[in-house]
């Protein structure tokens, strides 16, 4: 669904410029290379080339090169266990960042959406359990995404009736309720056992669960999600969403349908969480009620807050830090005490740097470097 269509559907009275025309983007403070002239400005070069020239900077190229070379240098363990997992978790956290950072709605049910998608893949597709229906993957995946997105819209529709702080409570209640449903229901969800041996299909002769292919699969999904969020928050729909975050009453007075925008944000975030959830199931190879328990619901929030919710990249930074802590906690302290470590880190971040690691970075830069703000302006939640 394109943003332009959304805008037309949402605000019939408002006159806004056509989607293609340049428009002032309130959230945009991209550090444009001020000195570099834009050689493609007048030439007849294709639009995508102009777009790339305007938006790409050296750091993008460096990061992209690193991400592409990385799996061939690192050990399979690091490629799969750390990078693969971090990308999948980061995608789910990204959906929360989108909802929370740009929509002002902190939903704890994002992992539940991912879990619903994961369960859908396991139930409809193939697994070690007889309950699985064994449909082909090209039917299963769209189905799972649709189911999860619909559930996300439903959860959103019920939660947006409440505001701010209530949203956390209600989405937490939904998340825990789904956990107990999966735990107690044996006819569909296979109860405590869950589903084992849920593997990605072998497509184009590639085993997508071996480290390098899985890494690139997760990377493609994560990158798509990241670019999608970057694009969406500057599209009319995203700008309207940020307006609603800052002042819902004013937006309503301007003729925007607040509830519809919020539910749509839930649905969009749900789609991203669903993709992340499917990746996570393939990564783990199994799904059990414990994959969607309260601990994991909260871990997604921890990841998003750890990285910082003001910029989509925060979700992935948080995920990398989280997975590194999780993997190497055994070397720092007892393996059993991982929760203490992550809880402590989370507490420290919330207490001392509410904008997460990105906020810490921005603080350091403003202190020692030139004044450049790379984060989207977000009003402090009152």
């Amino acid at each position: 669904m394109s943003a332009a269509r959304w805008r037309r559907a949402m605000s019939p009275g408002a006159t806004l410029p056509a989607a293609a025309a340049p428009r002032p983007a309130p959230a945009a403070r991209m550090p444009l290379p001020a000195a570099a002239p834009d050689p493609y400005a007048d030439s007849g070069a294709p639009r995508w080339l102009k777009f790339l020239w305007r938006h790409l900077s050296a750091r993008h190229v460096v990061v992209a090169a690193f991400l592409l070379v990385f799996p061939f240098v690192a050990t399979p363990f690091i490629t799969f266990q750390i990078a693969g997992q971090a990308l999948a978790l980061g995608l789910i956290a990204l959906s929360l960042t989108f909802l929370g950072g740009y929509g002002g709605m902190i939903s704890l049910a994002q992992l539940t959406i991912g879990g619903i998608a994961g369960y859908a893949v396991s139930i409809l597709g193939t697994s070690a359990t007889e309950l699985s229906l064994g449909w082909p993957w090209w039917v299963v995946i769209p189905f799972a995404l649709v189911i999860a997105t619909a559930c996300a819209a439903l959860i959103g529709w019920l939660s947006v009736r409440t505001e701010g702080i209530y949203t956390i409570m209600i989405t937490l209640a939904f998340g825990v309720a789904f956990y107990y449903l999966a735990l107690q229901n044996y006819t569909i969800f296979n109860g405590f056992q869950g589903f084992q041996k849920v593997y990605p299909p072998t497509v184009l002769g590639v085993d997508w669960r071996s480290p390098v292919p899985f890494y690139f699969l997760a990377l493609a999904c994560a990158l798509a999600g990241y670019c999608f969020v970057k694009w969406l928050v500057r599209a009319p729909f995203g700008v309207a969403l940020q307006g609603i975050r800052d002042n819902p009453r004013r937006m309503e007075a301007l003729g925007f349908h607040v509830v519809a925008h919020r539910v749509a944000a839930y649905a969009v975030a749900g789609l991203m969480a669903a993709v992340g959830g499917i990746l996570l199931v393939w990564y783990n190879g199994l799904i059990t009620p414990n994959s969607v328990n309260t601990g994991w619901l909260i871990n997604i929030l921890v990841i998003a807050v750890l990285g910082g919710m003001r910029h989509p990249i925060g979700a992935f930074i948080g995920a990398v830090v989280f997975v590194l802590l999780q993997t190497f906690a055994i070397d720092l302290i007892d393996r059993e005490r991982f929760n203490l470590l992550i809880g402590g880190v989370f507490l420290a971040i919330v207490l001392f740097s509410p904008d997460g690691l990105l906020g810490l970075w921005a603080k350091l830069r403003s202190r020692f470097g030139p004044d450049q703000v790379t984060t989207s302006p977000l009003r402090r939640q009152a």
Binding site: I106, L158, R161, T162, G164, I165, Y166, I168, M169, I170, L172, A173, V176, A177, Y180, L181, Q184, N185, Y186, T187, N293, T294, G295, I298, L301, V302, V305, E336, R337, N339, L340, I342, G343, G344, F346, L347, V350, L351, P354, R380, Q381, A382
Partner: protein, 317 residues
């Protein structure tokens, strides 16, 4: 009959009708099972009420969703367990559980939450972090094994010779009494004392209360202590009935959340109503349709949210 009245009748009929039909059927089918389940439901509701009333009290005054409430419940339970094991006095365990949780709550309020007054979201996240840390420290100290507390001697064993039901656990009945006593105490505290008047005033308008010369920080601290203490108190009571394992904290937190969402956030009466609804729904679900007991709870939650987004006794803020 006006339209609103008719709608209200319709709603009562829609909700009450199936319940009445079910009750009549169940009464004729198996009177004893129905009544025992009713008692079980009410006693469970009583425990839920004790825990959730603390939650709703804190929320009502400070707009602070204390997601560490479940951890405080578990903390109270464990402390009570240790005290009961060392001294053998159950009443002392109750007091110890209450105090331990109250002090923990006071520390949380004074050391952390006070410094971020007005930042609801951040406060909630802090309590999430705290709940992770507290739960893990408790797991560290008490390990993952199940701890079961003994009921005091004078409450052990069943009460016999009740008509129809025949015998029922004395301890479970005492839970009902605890719930009622605490409910009455809270009503008295909120409606008949000066502190209660301050708390109620704070719920309505914090700024005005502060302008009237009341030390709002003190009122906050006292309320948070009371709310946390109630969680600990519930923990000791629940430790006998439900047993203590890591994971119980989330269960009680979820119960508290649902109770206050259904009943209306910030309202003690709402917490009582929500607790009764949740307790009855859970026990009847378990007794008559075991696989779907959670779904009942869920359906109730959705129905309430659909018709009364702020809960049954909730007011708009």
């Amino acid at each position: 009959m006006t339209r609103a009245q008719r709608n209200r009748w319709l709603l009562w009929l829609l909700v009450g009708g199936p319940i009445a039909v079910f009750s009549i059927w169940a009464l004729f089918d198996n009177t004893r099972l129905y009544l025992v389940t009713l008692l079980n439901g009410l006693t469970l509701a009583s425990l839920y009420f004790i825990v959730a009333s603390g939650f709703t009290l804190v929320f009502g005054l400070m707009r602070n969703v204390n997601l560490a409430h479940g951890s405080l419940y578990l903390l109270g339970g464990y402390v009570g367990f240790v005290i009961a094991e060392k001294t053998g006095w159950w009443v002392l365990a109750l007091a110890g559980g209450f105090l331990a949780a109250a002090i923990a709550g006071l520390l949380i309020q004074v050391l952390i939450l006070r410094h971020m007054q007005g930042q609801d979201l951040r406060q909630t996240m802090v309590t999430i972090g705290l709940s992770i840390v507290i739960a893990d420290v408790l797991l560290w100290i008490f390990t993952g094994q199940v701890h079961q507390m003994e009921a005091p001697e004078w409450l052990q064993g069943p009460i016999r010779d009740i008509p129809v039901i025949r015998a029922y656990s004395a301890y479970r009945l005492s839970l009902l009494a605890f719930g009622i006593v605490i409910g009455v105490f809270l009503w008295w505290l909120l409606n008949r004392t000066k502190v209660g008047a301050m708390i109620r005033a704070g719920v309505d308008d914090r700024a005005m209360l502060s302008a009237a010369g009341v030390n709002v920080n003190l009122v906050f601290a006292v309320t948070f202590m009371l709310g946390a203490g109630l969680a600990g108190f519930g923990g000791v009571i629940g430790a006998v009935e439900l047993s203590m394992v890591p994971g119980e904290d989330t269960r009680l937190l979820l119960a508290s959340l649902i109770v206050v969402i259904v009943g209306g956030m910030g309202s003690v009466v709402g917490a009582a109503i929500g607790a009764v609804i949740l307790g009855l729904a859970e026990t009847y679900g378990l007794a008559y349709a075991p696989t779907y007991s959670v779904v009942f709870t869920f359906v109730i939650l959705i129905l309430v949210l659909a018709f009364r987004p702020r809960g049954i006794m909730g007011r708009s803020t």
